[in-house]
Structures are given as C-alpha cells and as structure tokens.
C-alpha cells in the first residue's frame, strides 16, 4: 500500500489526534505546556472550582517573565499588583505540584527562550502556552501555538484541547542572505509582503535554502513572528542543525532514547508530492535590512526605502492614523530619523547569538550621546553566558545597559517602558500603538540594525557601516 504523501504539519497533528468525529473539532493531545504569571491565574481558579488536579504535572513547566523587573531581581518586586501576580504563580505551582523556574532561579527567563535552551522543546511535539509567541518552538519541528486562558485551564485539567485543524501554507525562501541581513529581516520582509492577516487560518511551514542555512536561533526568530502575519503557528523541519543544538540539553533524551528519538525525528519532514493549501516563494538575495515605520508589523520597508505614499492594503484613514501616531510623513526616507531608545531583547531576539552579533558589531564603539540602550537577555542562562564570554564588558564600554532576564520593554506591563512620544528601535515583535508604553513609537528591526541605531543615534543602514569597516581594514 502506498502511503499518502503528507506535510510535516499533517504528520505531527495526526500523531496527536485522540479522537476525531465528523463536523466536530479534533481532540488533540498536548505534549508540553508552558505557563507564566499573566495568563495562568484564572486557569488555576477554574481547576479549583471544578475540584480537579493537574492531569499531567510533569508536562507543564512554569516561569515568571512578563511582569518582572529586569533590575535588582534579588529584591522583592516593588509594584504591589505585579508582586501579587508573581506570588500567585508561586502559590499555584506549589498547590498543583508544578515545576517553577521563578525569579532568581538559574533557569528563569522568557518562556520561549528557556524551553528550547533546556531541551524541553523537542521535534514532533505539540506545545502550547498562554502566549501568542509560542509559535517560536516550531523552529524545532514541533506544532506550537498560543492559547487563551480558558484553554490553559483545559490543558492543565486534561492535557488535551478541542481544535479544528488549520489549513497549511508553505513559505519557501531560497538563496543566500546579503551581508547585514538576518533572520529578523526575512520575517519582517515576508510580513510586509503578505500583511498582518496574510497567514490567518494557516499553519506555516518555512522551507528553502535560506531557512536551512539558519542557526536554531535564527529559525526561532522566524517562527516567533508567524503570529504577526496572523498564522496559528510556524514550523521548520528538524535537521542536523536541530539535533546538534539539542544534543546534551538538560531535558533532551539521552543515550538509547536519544538515538531512538533522532531516528523518529528524521521522519519529520514533508513528503515528496504532499500538497499545501497555499505556497509562497521569496528570494533571499532580494531581502534588505528591514525596519517598520507604522503601527503594525506589516508596515515595514527596506531601510534605504522611503515611507510609502499609501498602504498596499487597508484604508487610507488607518494608514494616515498610523503615520500620525508615529509622527512620520509619507514619502520621506526612514533612514536618518533620530531615535531615543534602543531595546535589544524579547522572545524574538534575546538569545545568545543575538547578543554576540550586537557585541561583535559594537566592540570598540560608543553609543550616541542622547540614546538610551537596554540589552535584556532572554534568560538567566543567556545572561550568564554573555558574561562568561565577556560581552558584558563590551556593552558597558559602549555605554549600553545590560539588564536581567524578562519580557521587559516588549510589552510594557513591567517597569520597563518607552516614554510617550519617544522613538525606540526595538528587536521585539510588535509596534502596535502603546505597545512599549503609552504613546511610545516603535521601529522594529534586527539586532544588527538596532546596534547601528544605538551607535549613530539614528535609523541607520548597517550595510554602509559594515562596508566602511571593511574599507578601513583593506586600506
């Protein structure tokens, strides 16, 4: 019998169907559940009301990340409500016997950074968390997506969810990236082409030579922002890069189990002849360093481009509203725009590779005088690693501030906020109105472009700066 050709997504989804009925959502088994302080307390309340235990406590892991300070984490949290929320997580994990990597723990960090670095995220898994950027874990060839708090409760209580199978989309990016261009530019470019709703209803598989060439960190950056095109999630077939990253990680399988796992993971790829509901192609060689100018992640341009005269989709009123909020003018260049803050952090770009890229670029340079630069590592482990490698000294010498792990100024629910009216070049994932603080204005970009902005105090084309350095070296 010839087996039907299946996509990577189909294989993982089908392997997790507990029950399927006609005209009814599938009952899907969840392998790994991550929780954090903000979207879990009401879910625990539901368990208490229903008088239920956590069904599979070993499959849920907790951390505190969204609502924590990134300075003086050894001191009690100052803000009463934040402290109460973080304390509630501690109490819930105690009551329901869940593992917690809380504030001060050596494994604490942004939930989407610690999962992979601990080997809790593995190929072939279904992974959920009450956070839309759960799509990050798809970089390992897992089906990972964000859920609401009601569903967090259901996973705690049953380890399952009722879900309609999404449609599948393949996004293929081929070719070699140009100098100064990184994974973040790829994903900002794609979203600028297909808009913030271009992926709604789909689960996206990223493929092609440009994706294969990326490190795990780069792949995580791509999958992370799948939600910004509206997609339910994004994933990439596991390969040797994936296995090399996972081998020896604390929670990854060991010895005989590792060999069995790698054998199985080797089957996790889209079969020849399998079909998708939609396929898109992009040429990596045409992607420039990207930057956003508006108030959604689809409003992005090449850094050397001018701000478009019109929105390619959507109403002109909304387009003008976004430019008014950003205090920018259609038709003007974005390059050279003076900025006030640089934020290098978030689940999109706060891994060790991101910090290394920034350090490598800024070594021996000084930040611009009027710019405040925050480097917020994605996890305690990233912070420790950065210090071991001496990156902290490079940042201090450049006038940057290296903080402690957390979501920080990505979402402004903690102490770290960009003041009203100020411009911030940010390596995070959302430039919505007020996202980084009421009235804040966000330019989303790659770590390298953020570093260039930190040094020049302006939106700058990192390619020119890299070229100047090469010229100096070859003189």
């Amino acid at each position: 019998m010839i087996k039907k050709a299946r996509t990577l997504f189909d294989k993982i989804w089908e392997a997790h169907v507990v029950e399927r009925k006609e005209n009814f959502p599938d009952l899907i088994y969840i392998d790994r559940h991550f929780i954090h302080e903000v979207t879990s307390p009401q879910a625990f309340d539901t368990l208490r009301q229903k008088n239920l235990p956590v069904a599979r406590p070993k499959q849920t892991v907790a951390t505190a990340d969204h609502n924590v300070p990134t300075k003086n984490q050894h001191l009690p949290i100052k803000e009463t409500l934040s402290k109460f929320q973080v304390d509630t997580l501690i109490q819930n994990c105690r009551d329901f016997e869940l593992e917690l990597f809380g504030l001060g723990h050596e494994k604490q960090g942004i939930v989407h950074v610690i999962g992979p670095e601990l080997g809790l995220t593995l190929p072939g898994m279904t992974i959920v968390c009450g956070d839309s950027h759960t799509s990050t874990h798809g970089a390992f060839g897992s089906v990972a997506f964000g859920i609401g708090t009601s569903q967090v409760g259901q996973v705690l209580g049953t380890q399952c969810l009722l879900l309609h199978k999404p449609k599948t989309m393949r996004i293929e990016i081929n070719g070699k990236l140009r100098r100064g261009v990184s994974a973040k530019d790829i994903i900002l470019y794609i979203i600028s082409q297909i808009s913030t709703s271009g992926g709604t209803g789909y689960f996206v598989e990223y493929a092609g030579t440009a994706i294969e060439a990326l490190s795990m960190e780069g792949r995580m950056t791509i999958c992370n922002m799948s939600i910004e095109m509206g997609a339910r999630g994004g994933l990439i077939a596991p390969d040797q890069t994936t296995f090399d990253y996972l081998k020896g990680k604390e929670y990854a399988p060991k010895d005989e189990a590792w060999n069995k796992a790698v054998n199985y993971w080797g089957t996790l790829h889209t079969d020849e002849g399998a079909t998708y509901d939609k396929v898109l192609y992009f040429d990596a060689t045409k992607i420039p360093p990207m930057i956003t100018y508006g108030t959604n992640p689809g409003m992005g341009v090449g850094i050397a481009d001018t701000i478009p005269l019109d929105s390619f989709e959507g109403s002109l009123d909304d387009y003008n509203k976004a430019l008014w909020y950003m205090d920018l003018t259609a038709g003007e260049p974005i390059q050279g725009k003076k900025i006030d803050y640089v934020f290098i952090g978030s689940c999109t770009n706060a891994r060790i590779e991101d910090l290394r890229t920034v350090a490598n670029f800024v070594k021996g340079k000084q930040k611009a005088k009027d710019v405040e630069v925050w480097i917020v590592p994605g996890s305690k482990s990233v912070e420790v690693q950065a210090k071991q490698e001496g990156l902290d000294q490079i940042f201090i010498d450049a006038g940057f501030e290296l903080r402690q792990a957390g979501c920080s100024a990505c979402l402004a629910m903690n102490e770290d906020k960009i003041p009203a009216g100020k411009y911030c070049v940010s390596t995070s994932n959302r430039n919505f109105e007020g996202r980084q603080g009421p009235g804040s204005r966000t330019f989303l970009a790659s770590p390298l472009t953020a570093a260039a902005a930190a040094i020049t105090g302006k939106v700058a084309d990192v390619r020119t700066m890299l070229q100047e350095e090469t010229d100096l070296l070859t003189v």
């Binding site: 959502p25 402004a412 919505f432």
Partner: protein
C-alpha cells in the same frame, strides 16, 4: 454564558487591524481574576494620559451604545490575551461584527459567550453607514437561525458558525466538560504512543 438572541443598537468602530493591545493594554493584565477588565477596555483610545475622557472616541459618544461592536477587518490580532475577550464581555458587549477576525481572539470570544460574526466587507460598510446615519438602528442577531437582521435596512443575512461552538453557546457549555468526559480515550492514547521520548 448562554447566547440565543440579541436585539440591540451598536457601536461603530471602523478601524482595521484592531489588536488586543488596544482592546486591553498589557499594563492592565495584572489582575488574577476575570472581573473588572471592562473598565480599561480600549483604555488609551478612551482616555487621555491625565485620565480625562477623549470626546472623539466612540465609547465616549453619547449617541452610540449597545451590546454590539461593528469593527474594521482583522479584529483582535496580536497577543493571545483572553483578557481582551473578558474586557469586551465585562463592558457589556455580546457580539462583534467584522469582515475578518484573528484566530486566537475568535476562539477566546466564543469561550466567553461573545459571538464573533464575520460578514463580507461591503455588508460591513453598509451596516456602519446605517449606524452613522441613525445611531438608534437596531441590529437583531439570532444564533439559532444564524441570521443578522437590520429592519431599518430591510436587510437579513446569514452567517457561518462552527456547529459545535454554536451548540456550546446556545446551551452555555464549554470545551472543558466535554474533554473531561473523554478521559478514557485520552488514557488509551497515552498508552499507545510510540513517539513520546520526552516522557
């Protein structure tokens, strides 16, 4: 919360891509219960920084009220925060009509007794124009029949909804109890797994 029929005036909010950070900014997500989020619904559009109400925002416009929001396309994009659905429900809304919904928001809405109704873009614009012309316009939503009626316009359309979710809303059920009843199937599934190297 059960949902059968709603007959109400509506709030026009024709902005596209309204993200959940606008519906409820992150700094108001610190509560550990589900109640009270309505107070901060659309906080930064409703209020000035000093706390004064912004007269130009529709929720502060006395002409408009009701249990229905009529919003621009791609409503509820961005963060998965269910607090957005809680805030909308807590304020008193039961229906959101738009030409497109973000996936996670749509699920969260349905799980909180809010009915998201997707209509064609031209129909959305027709409804919006009618509300602007006459803020007293009543919109009748019937979940059982899956219809939206605007008597002033002599206008009656049907909408799609997942059959299972419709049953849940009509009866006030949620997924949780259904899944709990599948305990045996879940345990059977766990025993038969061959790919669970992580356990």
């Amino acid at each position: 919360m059960k949902f059968t029929k709603i007959n109400s005036t509506a709030i026009p909010l024709p902005i596209e891509n309204i993200d959940t950070d606008q519906i409820i900014p992150a700094r108001f997500l610190k509560a550990t219960t589900r109640e009270g989020f309505g107070e901060n619904l659309f906080r930064d559009w409703r209020y000035e920084k000093n706390g004064d109400t912004r007269a130009d925002f529709v929720l502060n416009d006395a002409r408009y009220s009701g249990k229905i929001i009529v919003a621009g396309k791609n409503f509820g994009c961005g963060s998965s925060r269910e607090h957005a659905a809680w805030a909308i429900a807590d304020y008193g809304f039961r229906v959101v009509i738009s030409s497109f919904f973000a996936d996670i928001f749509k699920g969260n809405a349905l799980n909180n007794g809010i009915l998201p109704i997707q209509v064609e873009e031209d129909i959305l614009q027709t409804i919006l124009q009618q509300i602007y012309q006459n803020p007293e316009t009543k919109i009748q939503v019937d979940l059982e029949k899956q219809t939206v009626e605007v008597p002033d316009l002599n206008f009656n359309i049907t909408f799609d909804i997942d059959a299972y979710k419709k049953t849940c809303l009509l009866n006030g059920y949620d997924d949780f109890d259904y899944i709990l009843n599948q305990k045996e199937a879940i345990e059977q599934f766990e025993q038969n797994r061959v790919d669970a190297f992580f356990l």
